[in-house]
Amino acid sequence: MAETLFYLLSIGAIACGAGVIRARMPLFSVLCLLGAFFCLSGIYLLAGFQFLAVTQLLVYAGAIMVLFLFVIMLLNLGDENEIARQSGIALSGKQLAVAGTSAGVFALIGVLTAGYGIAPVETASTRASGIDELQTLAVELFSRYMLPFEAASLLLLLTMIGVIAIAKRQRAGEPTHTGAGFPWTKEPLDEESTL
């Protein structure tokens, strides 16, 4: 039962992945990505990682996906002309061949790996609560992985500041592409006079 479910979810994830890269409209692409996240979350659950599955749903499907959708809505990318301009393939034939070969190599490695899968591994059923039991995970995270955890919090803070700095709307009268608005650019360069 669980095995069947795994393979079904796998097929779903692959199909959604293909949808992500095949979609004509960014909105559809992002929705496919959402589907892939759900399928992966299910696989995590089956493999015994409840907390990770929940995080996947909350952070990815909940937060990040909303961010994507929010941007799409904000920039009004649903416009037909815009879609025509942005969709399609960005590469020439030769470049496409290189890209395809590169991706093909990774896929091939995956397929070949699958061929080795003779001995099935049973997910430990002795633990009722799965592998990443919340309490042990928390203990581990706040003891052994304390430093990375704190560093990650710092990273998030910096991201927050950076995003605000980048996406901030310029005030009227300021030149648009001289780095003005970035906090480290104290005095905007007067482009016309220097060039």
Binding site: F6, L40, L52, I64, Q86, A107, V121, T123, L137, A167
Partner: protein
């Protein structure tokens, strides 16, 4: 669930190659960003597969929790990356009224 570890890894590889393909070929920056998210998820899946195999074989010394913990950090970095990336897309859109990759070729040397 009674599935070989290699099958999880194979799924991860296929998802990764799909991400690579999308990342390399698509013009729309949002779809490129989505492809990157797909690749990051594939990486997470390998962590999970490894951690699961470890837990099943009962290897002593070390912890099967390393997998999920690293996955957590990956999700965290992915969130930060998505936020910055999307902010850059907004800045680019303000400048060029477009989210196509080609429109960011101004530093051409």
């Amino acid at each position: 669930m009674n599935v070989p570890t290699e099958h999880l890894l194979a799924l991860a590889a296929i998802l990764f190659s799909l991400g690579v393909l999308g990342f390399l070929t698509r013009k729309n920056l949002i779809i490129v960003l989505a492809s990157i998210e797909l690749m990051l998820n594939a990486a997470n899946l390998t962590f999970v597969a490894g951690s699961r195999a470890w837990a099943a074989e009962g290897v002593t010394g070390g912890s099967p929790l390393q997998g999920p913990i690293f996955s957590l950090f990956v999700i965290l970095v992915a969130a930060a990356e998505a936020a910055v990336g999307l902010a850059l897309i907004i800045a680019l859109y303000r400048l060029k009224q477009s989210v196509a990759l080609d429109s960011a070729g101004e530093l051409k040397g």
